[in-house]
Symmetry: C2
């Protein structure tokens, strides 16, 4: 079974949701048959490389609330991070444009290191105060996660994998996705947001139980019917029968 996840590097609920999915998978009997695939989704494609100021200030400005209220909201998210074994050092967080990070992530997917690179990016942003919008940060983290330094530099110097990022985002728009994380189980069942572990377990079970999908028979004016379908079966090949 395939699970597609749309997320952004700097989206706290994306990390929380992914960790809760992981927790659901950890205790699930068919976990060995699951393939998890990340997809790119930029919360703000127009963001500058460095938003400047602190996260608390930016949230206070965006919502028109006090710095104290903004701080409380970040503390609440940090508490939820702790519950899934992660760190959200919101006082040091340096949000910024994530397009380059997503481009390098797609290089990583081709090198079989998609999970490693995405995890490294997220940990660095949330726990280590890494300026994820800066080219040199993306370069350093990608290499730490196992990518070849020259190859990463070549991607960052050009525009490689930009199409892959846009393609992921187009697919999300076509599904009507406006916020992340967004999880799709086997192309059929969607879970939006950092839902509780038990919701992911229930979704996994439902997706698994409805896994066998029978395709719709194609019918058209030119299609031969059942009676003279040219097929071979256990008893021979249909129109092969000379008695007809």
């Amino acid at each position: 079974m395939k699970i597609d996840i749309w997320s952004d590097v700097i989206c706290p609920f994306c990390l929380l949701g992914k960790r809760r999915l992981d927790a659901a998978l950890a205790g699930w009997e068919h976990a060995g048959d699951v393939e998890v695939v990340w997809h790119s989704f930029e919360l703000d494609p127009n963001a500058p490389r460095d938003l400047g100021g602190t996260l608390v200030e930016k949230i206070a400005n965006k919502y028109g609330v006090s710095v104290e209220q903004s701080r409380a909201s970040q503390q609440d998210i940090a508490r939820q991070f702790t519950e899934v074994g992660a760190i959200f050092d919101w006082e040091r967080a340096k949000p910024g444009n994530t397009f380059d990070a997503h481009r390098v992530f797609h290089l990583a997917v081709e090198r079989g290191l998609g999970n490693e690179v995405m995890s490294r990016f997220m940990t660095a942003y949330f726990a280590e105060g890494a300026a994820i919008g800066e080219v040199k940060t993306v370069q350093r983290l990608a290499v730490e996660a196992g990518l070849d330094a020259d190859e990463v530099r070549s991607v960052l110097d050009g525009d490689a994998y930009g199409d892959a990022v846009r393609s992921d985002e187009l697919a999300a728009r076509q599904m009507g996705v406006s916020g992340v994380p967004f999880f799709v189980f086997d192309h059929r069942l969607a879970v939006s947001g950092a839902q509780p572990v038990e919701v992911f377990v229930a979704a996994l079970n439902q997706a698994w139980d409805t896994q066998v999908s029978v395709p719709t028979p194609f019918t058209s004016a030119g299609s031969t019917g059942e009676d003279d379908a040219k097929v071979c079966g256990p008893d021979g090949c249909a129109i092969d029968d000379p008695r007809r």
Copy 2:
């Protein structure tokens, strides 16, 4: 777009159907976005390695018709082969058990040579009188198609990839497939039998036009609703808003 094909090596309508699909793809604008994947389906899993006798005799016996009538049916199929640029030398054909051929085909898939090996097997059976049920024939053809001789021998000496063959056949049964070829477009649309080229074109178009499938939102008692879904979007992270 993915096209899954269930077929057997010795099934004449499988070769005809695949060639007609290829003809449909050759003139189709989105052909470059199509991935074709073969799947195993044995017409007769209990067949001996060598059925003995001629194909014409076997068909005459199976259907209780004269050798002349049987010959006419083979000539008709051979004529259809000619129309798709293939050869059916039915006088030399040596049908037999295809389990080993399918096992080696699955090795080929892992080595990126699935199409090459399946095509080689079919051409050898239909046009060259190759005894496809014999281990030494399968060994020779697989190596001719590009597989490593030692690796093929190791598969044929053991039972590797038997599970992969059975898994393909189980998937076919679960879809209610009793005869081949069976084509599934993007997991959703099915075409059964060696249909005319124009039917494949129409099926390709229909599958392409309905390609964007929106997954069903998962709902359960424990799922949080739209109002408090923990997502981040262009305007920030939902419950991040301290005014709520």
